[in-house]
Symmetry: C3
Subunit: 334 residues, 3 copies
């Protein structure tokens, strides 16, 4: 592909000579024919040593770079698009593998790909261009939208719906029972989990993440939400459009999260609270109350060498006492 | 079903006219024929607007509610029971799906349900009325108790035993090797994990939760324990009866947890400690020492806006120094 | 087996009479014929009551123990080796189960074990003595090294390589897409994840742990690394030789961890940082910056009863203010 054609497709300005590019690569690994990029000023030092044939960059980072450059205000986005152009998702052959177990009344579109050992139960629908990888189990009356990809060994419980153009990675479990029990005498009575999970369009869900079904109402993951690996989403949670949650976070039941939030890794969100739109929560934060205003929120404590940390941590248990003694000293001063 | 019959079955008092009810619903979504409930005083405002045909409530929340009501001291429990009555677990047809791979000497009760692609290895037993969903793998000599349900894509390693009336959700792994290695020169020698996992009756285990097998002795999950999703239970852990653990918690090896404990989400419990009966641990707590008395325990720090948090967190590393300076000021005062 | 033979094989010194031993057991459960051990001085009280036939111990813990003893400086290591000798891994019969789905051009060594419902896609290689348990899915062009064991329901995405003598436990997902998205207008554009995962030799990976593929370069797990259950390893992470990570930890993208590190449970490591060789990180620590020197590092706060904790935690939000007031008092003093 000519770099000039790529400039057109990516909405970039070409600086320097046109050339052929046939792939993307990391700037330090790139060779002849490769397109590389820099995502921040601190990487501009690599421009003089890279063996790439062309670069994507902001104009101000370029200095005296002699390579052909695609100039853009968002090099990461342009590079991601170039990477997609050079690496289209390999299309698989439509059809049902003979080892798949498909209920008689399941509706499988002729353009769908159903791989080895897939199980599709009664009343389920798999739409056009959907790809269901090996070992995935689709429960009764589930609906899988157009061009959605379920990787290997995914499980979707009965009645859940997955939208269009979604990607669910291996080990994902959608629609397991929410965690609801009521004490009865010495033991617990299980609260039937009668709701479902609705997942919108363009949602990506990382490996081994779990989204529980609702108790009475449904758990709802809106369009464009991105969930990383090993995340827990409790029953009756609602997540607004284009909210992103990083790995190993856990959202307890009946939490409502707004749109366009950025939630870091290892965040915990307690049950029955609401988080507004456009909220940023930094990694490892425990969200113990509703957040009503956009902004950035944090908790956690800083890392230290273990000996120093131990001394400081011990003082944490005296904090209230220290505060009171400080007040006393201040009063005596007056 | 007549509301009066339901009152009998649920041990509630009927106030108002008898009527027909044919299902349960959320109080705000309920329509004609639905039974709804309120679980706390703050929801009593919904009583005047709900379209439900009848309500379950405590008497004191009712005020001038004009609907027929089932009065009880525990509306959540009565409602959960009503929900179960109206939504019995659908019984599946007993038998073995032709795609299942069953070892010749495995004992499968005639009333058990073995779904597509299930694998059952040598010497395993599946008891009466057990339901094994698609893709689940049951290792050698495993015993699955009566009426226990293993959802799709569960894995049980060799030699483990699961009691009666248990529910294991998809992605659960029971009996993987505990994490035991001994340093030997530059590398590690694997400690053979020769114990098993014993799971009692009426245990529910959430999606993608792991319970490791013991090193020499067994890991034991007692009757009535409820584990939420994505929980780690290390080798040789013992959990007492009717203890409940919420999602994304992790229990390190050789921990002994008592009966009737309530352990919140995202809790971490270090290895080789004991927790007494009737202990409550709030969400995100790190349990770094044994807990010998019943009561409620916590750690973690509060959420704040990121700028304020950053200033306070930085001071955490000065806490011991601050405490000493405070003492010095107090001494000088005297 | 004679205890004296065992002494030779384990490089221990035999004190007392020779005897027959035919297995290993916990010191409190051991019976006649069993070999038991004590791993620390605090267990030496069991020496006088155990019913074991022989003991492994350090010399200084023995006192007046009358049993035959294998004396060593590292009883845990000697016992682990004895346990291995008495419990060799059961060899399974080589061959391909008829229910497995194997691509025509996949290379499966004749000595490999391919269990029921395994799926092996085009171009994949399974080396000599490898054991692939039921329901495991091996993607296109994956290479599985010699004598490596994949337990049931593991998923390996296309192009990843697993070294020799590895053990991957059930539910492990290797090579799912890293979490990379670039904002574009109202939504996100997916960054193609073009790298792979390379796993070295002698690596063990616990149940339901996830290792994501790299974006451009590869994610690398070096020889001898041990990962516990439910761990998240982000894209482009590199983990040095013989580093050990305990359960429920999460490592964000592009982190470089050195050799011989010991990382506790529930640790979080933020993206784009480096951790030196020989670093110890205690459980539940949040690593928010690079660690350049060997040593032990910690964060987190101590557990307390909930009432006391609540008071102290509230003061955390006043820490910066308290520090400033303390400084003011000190100045006024001068």
């Amino acid at each position: 592909m000519k770099l000039s054609e790529l400039a057109d497709q990516l909405n970039c300005t070409l600086r320097g000579d046109d050339c052929d590019v046939n792939g993307v690569a990391d700037i330090n690994q790139a060779g002849s024919g490769d397109l590389a990029y820099i995502s921040s000023e601190k990487y501009k030092k690599f421009l003089s040593v890279t063996k790439a044939s062309a670069i994507i960059s902001k104009e101000e980072w370029l200095m005296d770079c002699e390579l052909p450059v695609l100039i853009t205000e968002d090099p990461r986005l342009a590079f991601a698009k170039a990477a997609s152009l050079f690496n289209p998702v390999k299309s698989k052959t439509a059809g049902i593998h003979p080892s798949a177990s498909i209920a008689e009344d399941a509706l499988i579109h002729a353009s769908a790909v159903i791989s080895a050992n897939v199980v599709i139960e009664a009343g389920a629908t798999v739409s056009a261009d959907a790809v269901i990888d090996a070992g995935t189990v689709i429960g009764e009356n589930v609906i899988i939208g157009k061009a959605t990809q379920l990787n290997a060994n995914v499980t979707i419980y009965h009645g859940c719906t997955i939208g269009e153009n979604c990607i669910l990675h291996s080990g994902v479990v959608i629609g397991a029972d929410g965690f609801g029990f009521v004490r009865e005498g010495d033991s617990y009575f299980k609260v039937p989990q009668l709701g479902k999970v609705h997942i919108g369009n363009d949602v990506e869900i990382g490996a081994n993440t779990c989204v529980d079904r609702g108790a009475l109402l449904d758990t709802v993951i809106s369009d464009g939400v991105k969930l990383d690996n090993l995340i827990q989403i409790g029953h009756n949670v609602e997540i607004g459009e284009h909210t992103v949650i990083s790995a190993a976070s856990a959202v307890a039941g009946t939490v409502k999260i707004g749109k366009n939030c950025l939630i870091g890794g290892n965040v915990g969100i307690r049950d029955n609270i609401e988080i507004a739109d456009n909220v940023i929560i930094t990694g490892r934060t425990l969200v113990s109350r509703s957040i009503k205003k956009p902004g950035s929120y944090s908790s956690s404590t800083p890392i230290d060498d273990t000996l120093s940390w131990r001394k400081n941590a011990a003082r944490f248990r005296q904090l209230d006492d220290m505060a009171k003694r400080l007040i006393k000293l201040e009063k005596e001063k007056q």
